[in-house]
């Protein structure tokens, strides 16, 4: 009897050991990778993680980008949320404020991550002094040039300063749809690189006030300059949403330069006739915008520890370096040093540009701030309001939001 009992115990213990080894935890991971990015992720990044963690199965689900915020909210509220989401860096504060995310400050190994992560991308995970995720990849935009058009304008290589480029303005021919360059739209993602490069700003460096900065002389001048480009036919009405857009326009030779992200190069065939270079500078300034995605854990996950394992893995060189060829820049300083761009020479300009790129106002109110900026910029460019008046109103509104 006693023997049988001990056999039973041994059996139970072995069974539980075996089952704990083979019981797979499924992590649901929502992302919005493009075709090319998804391929690299599924073929080169994920297999290594799953081989090292046989008890974890990552179910990577590609979601439509449009309406993703609604998807996340309804999934969390409906208790069918995934464990992990890769989301735009500007969304994190807002979702943290809604209470949809789990803070990672207390997780094992977080301090080491904090020490190695690039401060800019890491700052985008903060809401009220806590970190609600990890920076997965960063990016920015630079000048993308049409070599043939540059030659017609008398350049052998992308010009280093905006003045050089603007000197060729008399050779633009708007009536035949040949403009000098393009501003992608009047929304902040497209406008801010020009505004910053021209010397303007949205707030002070601590992101506490807008009045005196957004409606300061430098920003007003920047907006008036962009408006004058539009009026003189140096840039096209692409900035107001008209055709031809930046992608079609640069390929068809409507523009000598557009400002685009690395995805211009990571999609489709190699584009040797369209070199990348940092945004032509003004008074030594060439300031683009910081983009990228963070990886967050959603409230309601039953596998916090395993999800955290996956989050940590996504910061490792095994995960971050292969994604470079898909245009994703590493967020850890130690990985950034190992980047090899020989297969993707166009990445050099992006890495260079990133050194001076500026973040958008980190705030849970960013969506509202962005709406104010977009509306103001468009009104100014359409001439329905003067730059000074429009920016005065906007600065006052943004101050209210920042005070929240």
């Amino acid at each position: 009897m006693r023997k049988m009992f001990s056999v039973l115990i041994v059996l139970v213990v072995t069974m539980s050991l075996v089952s704990s080894v083979f019981a797979e935890t499924e992590l649901k991971f929502w992302h919005t990778y493009s075709d090319g990015e998804e391929k690299v992720f599924l073929e080169q990044v994920l297999p290594i993680f799953e081989a090292a963690n046989p008890d974890i199965k990552v179910n990577a689900i590609r979601m439509p980008y449009e309406g993703l915020n609604q998807q996340i909210i309804t999934a969390v509220a409906g208790e069918v949320a995934p464990d992990l989401v890769r989301m735009d860096i500007t969304w994190v504060a807002q979702f943290a404020k809604l209470g949809a995310l789990i803070s990672v400050d207390q997780m094992e190994g977080f301090d080491a991550i904090l020490a190695d992560a690039l401060p800019g991308p890491m700052a985008t995970t903060i809401y009220k002094d806590e970190h609600y995720g990890i920076p997965m990849n960063t990016n920015t935009t630079t000048g993308v040039f049409n070599l043939e058009r540059l030659k017609e304008l008398g350049f052998d290589a992308p010009p280093a300063t905006l003045d050089e480029l603007l000197a060729a303005a008399d050779r633009a021919d708007p009536s035949n749809e040949k403009w000098l360059f393009a501003v992608q739209g009047s929304f902040s993602w497209a406008m801010l690189p020009f505004i910053w490069t021209l010397g303007g700003s949205i707030t002070d460096n601590a992101f506490t006030t807008s009045t005196g900065y957004l409606n300061g002389e430098a920003t007003v001048n920047a907006l008036e300059t962009i408006k004058s480009w539009l009026d003189q036919g140096i840039i096209s009405s692409c900035v107001l949403g008209e055709e031809p857009g930046t992608w079609g326009g640069i390929e068809a030779g409507n523009y000598a330069m557009v400002i685009e992200g690395p995805w211009f190069y990571s999609v489709g065939e190699a584009k040797p006739n369209f070199p990348s270079s940092t945004i032509p500078s003004v008074d030594g300034r060439s300031i683009s915008i910081v983009g990228g995605e963070n990886l967050v854990m959603l409230k309601g996950t039953k596998h916090q520890e395993k999800a955290w394992e996956f989050m940590k893995y996504m910061l490792s060189p095994e995960a971050q370096l292969p994604m470079v060829n898909a245009g994703m820049i590493p967020t850890m300083a130690s990985n950034l040093n190992k980047v090899d761009t020989s297969e993707s020479p166009w990445m050099d300009a992006y890495l260079e540009q990133l050194k001076t790129a500026a973040p958008r106002t980190p705030s849970a109110e960013w969506p509202s701030i962005e709406e104010i900026l977009n509306t103001t910029f468009e009104s100014i460019l359409r001439g329905t309001i003067s730059a000074q008046d429009g920016l005065n109103t906007a600065a006052a509104q943004i101050d209210e939001l920042l005070a929240k």
């Binding site: 609604q70 509220a77 409906g78 208790e79 055709e243 031809p244 079609g248 390929e251 068809a252």
Partner: protein, 281 residues
């Protein structure tokens, strides 16, 4: 005699011009879509615009079909749409019959409630309907989705079928009632067959509404293997911004099944119409 014919033909000319104007304006956008789908991809608009396919270039269709689980999504959509349509017809024709042919206390009050519900745009309650599905633990299930389709359209659907049933002369039923037939017999053997053309039209509308429905599907369904075609299509557009040739190729693939269903049903409608005429005669 000949002169009469000429006059008759001449009289018909404005008629045909008008009809053709309608047909052309309905068709041109589709022709343009087809021609674009059959043009090798360029991110810019071709100038001058291509209105007729230049060659039998089908790569865009192949690419659209193969780069997505279109066949899976297609089957999901068929499943949801067919089941919803059958249930919608069943429930709302019964209710339509009840309001058209039966008497019971409080009928007027209930009917006004129905009319009132018709005036609530279904989508305005999206948030609270979503909460309801969540509380019923039906998130991410087809049951939740189909019940939502059934529930949100019930007022308008019942109202429509009731109007159809009202136009059927009572005389035909009286013989059945005299013979001791029940309401079920009348509903199944007289009212439904007699309204076949209307119910057929109704079925097509119900089917295409569900087939194209986007917002509820996106809100309730979360698993990728349960997605329906509109979600897949919208996602496809997001990923291929400005690649109009590919987008339109995918759109045409999504459009074909419903076109097919419509043409099949159209024959049924004609048969129904003939039967209608026979009974009247």
């Amino acid at each position: 005699m000949k002169k009469m014919n000429v006059v008759r033909v001449l009289k018909k000319i404005p008629f045909w011009i008008l009809l053709m104007a309608f047909m052309v304006s309905a068709l041109i956008p589709f022709l343009y879509m087809l021609a674009t789908a059959m043009t090798p991809q360029a991110y810019t608009l071709p100038y001058p615009p291509i209105l007729f396919p230049q060659s039998l270039y089908l790569n865009n269709f192949v690419e659209a079909w193969s780069s997505n689980h279109f066949s899976d999504y297609f089957l999901n959509s068929v499943y949801v749409s067919v089941l919803s349509t059958v249930l919608i017809i069943l429930v709302s024709s019964l209710a339509g019959y009840g309001f058209a042919r039966m008497n019971f206390p409080g009928k007027n009050v209930l009917f006004h409630l129905l009319m009132f519900s018709m005036m609530v745009p279904t989508l305005t309650n999206l948030v609270s309907q979503f909460l309801l599905i969540k509380n019923m633990k039906l998130m991410d299930t087809y049951l939740g989705l189909i019940l939502t389709y059934l529930g949100t359209g019930i007022a308008a659907n019942t109202f429509f079928l009731r109007s159809c049933f009202l136009s059927i002369p009572h005389a035909l039923e009286e013989s059945v009632v005299i013979d001791g037939g029940s309401h079920w017999t009348i509903w199944f053997h007289i009212v439904m067959p007699l309204s076949a053309p209307a119910v057929g039209t109704f079925a097509i509308m119900a089917f295409s509404n569900v087939w194209d429905e986007f917002l509820y599907a996106l809100t309730i369904i979360k698993s990728p293997n349960k997605r329906t075609l509109p979600i897949a299509l919208k996602m496809f557009q997001g990923q291929n911004l400005n690649n109009w040739s590919l987008i339109f190729a995918a759109s045409i693939i999504a459009l074909l099944p419903i076109l097919f269903v419509y043409i099949i049903m159209q024959k049924q409608l004609i048969r129904g119409g003939i039967m209608d005429g026979m009974l009247k005669g």
